[in-house]
């Protein structure tokens, strides 16, 4: 701080120079800008957190509703599902869909249908040739109506006799 004297003889306070005033003004501006940026960044964090909270609440709500629906079918031991499957997958329809997959050298010697949360099939298969049985298995696994194909024991000595387990999915089935 520099001091001078005026005509009265009192010491006179010297004002800020142009550069010092400019420097101070720029520093104030930078500080203010930095404060503003910090405020903006904090509010961006708050907004992002509230969006995250909303997204998590939404997902959690959907999961809760899903659990409730799944536990409902568990409590009923699949009764409601059996009712619906009896309507959507009556045996004549299941047998017709299976018959469409059977190659010429293959016949179904027995068909078991167990109605629960799905229609569980147990097929007794007789094939004149092993290749025909393999083709039948291929068609089963590729069919949109059939899932969870599980070949059981098979005798491939000449005529093939085998059992196959699978799940039938009726057309328009909603549940995976």
């Amino acid at each position: 701080m520099s001091q001078g004297r005026d005509f009265s003889g009192h010491p006179r306070r010297a004002g800020l120079s142009f550069w010092d005033a400019g420097l101070l003004a720029a520093a104030v501006a930078v500080f203010a800008l930095s404060g503003y940026a910090a405020g903006r960044a904090q509010s961006a964090v708050e907004i992002a957190r509230s969006r995250l909270e909303e997204a998590r609440r939404d997902s959690e709500g959907a999961r809760d509703r899903l659990r409730a629906l799944e536990s409902r079918s568990g409590r009923e031991e699949g009764l409601a599902s059996r009712v619906l499957l009896t309507t959507e997958a009556p045996p004549p329809r299941v047998v017709a869909d299976l018959a469409a997959l059977v190659p010429p050298d293959v016949r179904l010697d027995g068909v078991g249908l167990a109605y629960g949360r799905g229609v569980e099939l147990e097929l007794q298969v007789v094939a004149r040739r092993a290749q025909a049985y393999d083709l039948f298995l291929k068609r089963l696994t590729e069919s949109p109506r059939i899932s969870a194909v599980s070949p059981g024991t098979e005798n491939r000595d000449g005529e093939v006799r085998a059992s196959v387990r699978a799940t039938y999915r009726p057309p328009g089935s909603l549940r995976e």
Binding site: S17, S34, A55, L66, V83, R175
Partner: protein, 166 residues
């Protein structure tokens, strides 16, 4: 005065730097991480909602079918007698042989359970099964077994009726 102005300016600039490094930059990082988490949460949302919608449609379809079945089989009188009457009516006139029938009482919501066996030609047996579970009979399938029989195809069927909605 000039020195203190410069010191003040330096302090302000230092403060601005500290504010940026200590608050703004970490906040930007936190905001970016949080936005990424929002993105992940939103990405799983369509799959979750699709599963939920499928379950809800399934539950609604099951409710509708169950209400129809319960309405068809509930009512006054013994559920065993009602179920037996319904199955006998389906068997009457069906060109099958060796028909056997056993009806037992069920535990609510199951009204009664029936076991049906019959032999017949392939088409006749399938027609009989379709007739037994046609809409309006209120019969719900549990197990069906089809195997070669003396007359072509042999049927063993277990089904039940409902007295109320499960």
């Amino acid at each position: 005065m000039r020195t203190s102005a410069r010191v003040l300016a330096a302090l302000l600039l230092l403060g601005a730097g500290l504010l940026y490094a200590g608050v703004t930059l970490p906040a930007h990082r936190v905001a970016a991480d949080t936005e990424a988490a929002v993105g992940r949460a939103r990405a799983e949302r369509p799959g979750l909602h699709a599963r939920l919608a499928a379950q809800q449609r399934q539950a609604a379809a099951e409710d509708k079918a169950t209400a129809a079945v319960a309405a068809a089989t509930s009512g006054p009188g013994d559920p065993v007698v009602r179920l037996r009457r319904s199955v006998v009516a389906s068997l009457e006139g069906a060109p099958v042989s060796g028909a056997r029938l056993a009806v037992t009482a069920g535990r609510p919501p199951v009204g009664a359970r029936v076991q049906v066996s019959a032999d017949g030609r392939y088409a006749e047996i399938l027609r009989l099964v379709g007739h037994l579970v046609r809409p309006g009979t209120g019969l719900v399938l549990e197990n069906v077994r089809l195997r070669p029989g003396s007359a072509g195809l042999s049927l063993d069927l277990i089904a039940f009726s409902l007295t109320e909605r499960p």
